[in-house]
C-alpha cells in the first residue's frame, strides 16, 4: 500500500517532459549499429534477464527452496521408520531420489514461465531483433538452471543436517547434481514446447502435473522396485526417472554406474534433439 502512495507522489513532482528535436537528433546515430551478437552472447543476455527477474521478484524462488525442503522432511519422516528401520538409514537411500524429484518437478515452471512471458508484448520486440532465434528460450532455461542448482543445494544442506552422509563425498555429490541439472535442462524443453503450444498457464500446469506425478512416484525414488508387482516393475524399469535416479545415486555413493550414466547422456541428447527443434517451430509460428 505505502509503495503505491510514494509512486503517485514521485509522478506528480516530476517535471513535465518536453521532447526537443535536438535531444532526439543527438541519439539518432546511424553509426550506432553494432554487428549482431553471437548466439552465445545473445543467450547469455537472456540468461541475465532471467536472473534480473529473480532479483526483482525473489518470491519466485519459493518453489525451489520451500518445496524441496518440505518434500525432504515429509518423506524422510513419513517413510523412514517403516521402510528402513530408521530415518537416518532411509535418508541415505532417499536423498538423491528426492533431489531428482524436486528438481524434475521444478522443470514445469519453465513451461509456465514461457507461456506467461510469450503472451507479453516484449516477445514481439525480441522476435523483431536480428539475433539467433533460440536465444530467448535458451537464455530462459539458463536462468532455470540456476534455480535447479539452488534447489539441489538446498536439499543437500537439509540432507546433511538430517544426517545424510554420502560415500562419494563432495565430488560425488557435485557430479550427481551436475548430471541432474544437465538432464533437467534438456527435460525442460518438453515444457517449453508445451508452454508455446498450450493456451494458458493453467493448461501447462495441468499437463505437466499429469506427466510428472506418475513419472516421479512410479520410480525407484521412494522404495526398491523389487517389492512392487510385476506390471509396475515393468513400468518403473522403463521410466527414465528411474535411470536418472540410479545414475545420481551411483555418483553420490562414490560408485558410478557407467551403464546408467550412458543411458542418461543419451536421453539428454535425445530430449534436446527432439524438443529443441519442436520448441523453436512453435516459437517461430507464434
Amino acid at each position: 500500500m505505502s509503495s503505491t502512495v510514494t509512486e503517485k507522489t514521485t509522478e506528480t513532482t516530476e517535471p513535465v517532459y518536453v521532447p526537443t528535436a535536438e535531444a532526439i537528433g543527438a541519439i539518432l546515430d546511424p553509426r550506432a549499429r553494432p554487428p549482431r551478437p553471437s548466439a552465445l552472447s545473445a543467450s547469455l543476455t537472456f540468461g541475465w534477464r532471467a536472473i534480473l527477474k529473480i532479483k526483482h521478484v525473489p518470491e519466485q524462488l519459493f518453489d525451489v527452496t520451500a518445496f524441496p525442503i518440505m518434500m525432504t522432511l515429509m518423506f524422510t519422516y513419513l517413510f523412514g521408520g517403516a521402510l528402513a528401520g530408521s530415518t537416518t538409514e532411509y535418508l541415505q537411500f532417499l536423498l538423491p531420489g528426492i533431489m531428482v524429484q524436486s528438481v524434475v518437478m521444478t522443470t514445469m515452471y519453465s513451461g509456465i514461465a514461457v507461456n506467461v512471458d510469450i503472451a507479453k508484448g516484449v516477445f514481439d520486440r525480441f522476435k523483431s531483433l536480428p539475433i539467433w532465434r533460440p536465444a530467448a528460450m535458451v537464455g530462459n532455461l539458463l536462468g532455470d538452471v540456476l534455480r535447479y542448482v539452488l534447489a539441489s543445494l538446498v536439499i543437500t544442506v537439509v540432507g546433511l543436517i538430517l544426517g545424510f552422509r554420502p560415500a562419494g563425498g563432495v565430488m560425488g555429490v557435485a557430479a550427481g547434481i551436475g548430471l541432474l541439472v544437465v538432464f533437467s535442462f534438456a527435460f525442460s524443453w518438453i515444457w517449453t514446447m508445451c508452454g508455446l503450444y498450450l493456451r494458458s498457464e493453467k493448461s501447462v500446469m495441468g499437463v505437466s502435473m499429469l506427466v510428472l506425478f506418475p513419472l516421479t512416484f512410479l520410480s525407484n525414488i521412494f522404495v526398491d522396485p523389487s517389492t512392487m508387482p510385476g506390471w509396475l516393475q515393468a513400468f518403473v524399469e522403463i521410466n527414465p526417472i528411474t535411470r536418472l535416479v540410479a545414475a545420481v545415486r551411483g555418483l553420490m555413493d562414490g560408485n558410478p554406474d557407467m551403464g546408467e550414466l550412458t543411458w542418461v547422456f543419451i536421453a539428454t541428447v535425445a530430449l534436446l534433439a527432439i524438443f529443441g527443434p519442436l520448441t523453436m517451430r512453435a516459437y517461430n509460428r507464434k
Partner: protein
C-alpha cells in the same frame, strides 16, 4: 541508396477464414512519415507485423529497402524497429535494464550498452525514472521508453503501430513531437492510426486501408479533395435571419445546408472545391449575396472536408459527399 522504403505487391495474410490482409499493394517513400489509416480490424497491425518479419505472409511479396521480408528476414530486422500497439517492454525490469537488455541483444558491448541506455533515458526525459520497474510507469512513460528502445540502433525505418492509442493528450503531443524529430533526422516512419487528425498532423502521405485492401492513397490534401467538397460556415448576428440566409446560400451554391445545432451558424458545402473554379470564388459569391440581402455576418470560415468525412466517404458511406460534389 534507394528512395523506396517499403514496397508490397499483393500481400496476403489469412487467419482461418478471415483475410486480414487481402492483396495489399503499398509503396512507401523513404524519409517521411507515411500514415496508414483504417478502422479497427482493417489489417493495419497484421500488415505491419508482416513488414517487421513477425508474421509470415501467406501470399504476395514485401520488400523493405529492397530486401525481401521472408528471404532476407535478418537483414530487414537490422534495418527496422517496431513499437507495437502494446508496450514491448519487460514489466518486471527497470527502464534502464530494459534498454541495456535491448542494447546487448543488438550487439552493443557491456559498457556501450550502458552508455547508450543513459543517452536514451536522457533524451526521452526518463532519467529520474530509470531505476523504477516499468510496471510502475505511466502510460506516457511506457510509450516513450518503448520508442527509445526501438531507436536503440537507429533503425532506418520505424514502425509505429497506433503509438498514441490510450494516451492522454499531453503524452500524445510528446509522441507527436518525437515522431517529428525522428523524421527530421532522416528516419522513415510508418505510422498506423485510427485517429484522422493524427495522420493529418504528421503524415506526408496517407494510405487508407479497409478489409485488408488499399482503398485510397495520397497526400492529406489529395485525399480531401478527392472527396470533392469543402464547407462554408457563417455566423449570423441575428438568428431570426437564419431561414433567409440558408435559402440564399443554398441557392447561390446550389448545395444543401448541413443541419447543425447552433441557431446562428449556417454550414453549406462548397461544390467548387476541387474544381477549376475553386472554393474561395464560390464562397465570395455567397457572401456578397448575403450582404446584398442585408444579412449581417459576424464571422465566416472556409473549411476543408475533414479526414473523418474522407474516411467515411471511402469506407462505409461512399455516397453522400460524392453526390454533393457531382
Amino acid at each position: 541508396m534507394t528512395d523506396t522504403a517499403i514496397e508490397t505487391n499483393g500481400l496476403v495474410k489469412v487467419f482461418g477464414d478471415n483475410r486480414a490482409v487481402d492483396g495489399l499493394d503499398l509503396t512507401v517513400p523513404a524519409g517521411a512519415v507515411f500514415g496508414v489509416l483504417g478502422p479497427n480490424g482493417a489489417g493495419k497491425t497484421t500488415a505491419v507485423r508482416m513488414l517487421a518479419t513477425l508474421l509470415r505472409p501467406d501470399g504476395g511479396t514485401a520488400r523493405v529497402f529492397g530486401h525481401d521480408v521472408m528471404a532476407e528476414a535478418d537483414t530487414v530486422r537490422s534495418l527496422v524497429g517496431l513499437t507495437g500497439q502494446y508496450a514491448s517492454l519487460d514489466e518486471d525490469m527497470t527502464g534502464r535494464e530494459n534498454l541495456i537488455l535491448i542494447g546487448r541483444l543488438l550487439g552493443f558491448r557491456h559498457q556501450a550498452a550502458r552508455t547508450r541506455a543513459e543517452e536514451l533515458l536522457e533524451a526521452f526525459g526518463l532519467t529520474p525514472a530509470g531505476d523504477r520497474l516499468v510496471k510502475n510507469y505511466s502510460g506516457g512513460m511506457r510509450r516513450r521508453l518503448d520508442i527509445s528502445a526501438t531507436l536503440m540502433n537507429t533503425p532506418r525505418l520505424l514502425f509505429l503501430d497506433e503509438p498514441t492509442t490510450g494516451l492522454d493528450p499531453r503524452s500524445r503531443n510528446q509522441v507527436w513531437d518525437i515522431i517529428r524529430a525522428v523524421v527530421s533526422y532522416g528516419t522513415t516512419v510508418l505510422l498506423t492510426t485510427q485517429y484522422l487528425d493524427e495522420a493529418d498532423q504528421l503524415a506526408g502521405r496517407i494510405a487508407v486501408i479497409d478489409h485488408g485492401k488499399l482503398i485510397a492513397e495520397g497526400t492529406p490534401g489529395e485525399l480531401k479533395s478527392s472527396v470533392g467538397a469543402g464547407t462554408v460556415n457563417v455566423r449570423l448576428r441575428d438568428a431570426a435571419q437564419r431561414a433567409e440566409a440558408e435559402k440564399i446560400l443554398a441557392g447561390v451554391l446550389a448545395a444543401p445546408v448541413i443541419p447543425g445545432p447552433d441557431p446562428v451558424r449556417v454550414t453549406v458545402r462548397v461544390p467548387g472545391h476541387g474544381t477549376e473554379r475553386g472554393a474561395a470564388e464560390d464562397a465570395a459569391k455567397a457572401l456578397s449575396a448575403l450582404a446584398a440581402s442585408g444579412i449581417v455576418i459576424d464571422d465566416f470560415s472556409l473549411g476543408q472536408p475533414s479526414l473523418d468525412e474522407v474516411f467515411l466517404a471511402l469506407t462505409d458511406h461512399p455516397a453522400t459527399p460524392q453526390e454533393d460534389a457531382a
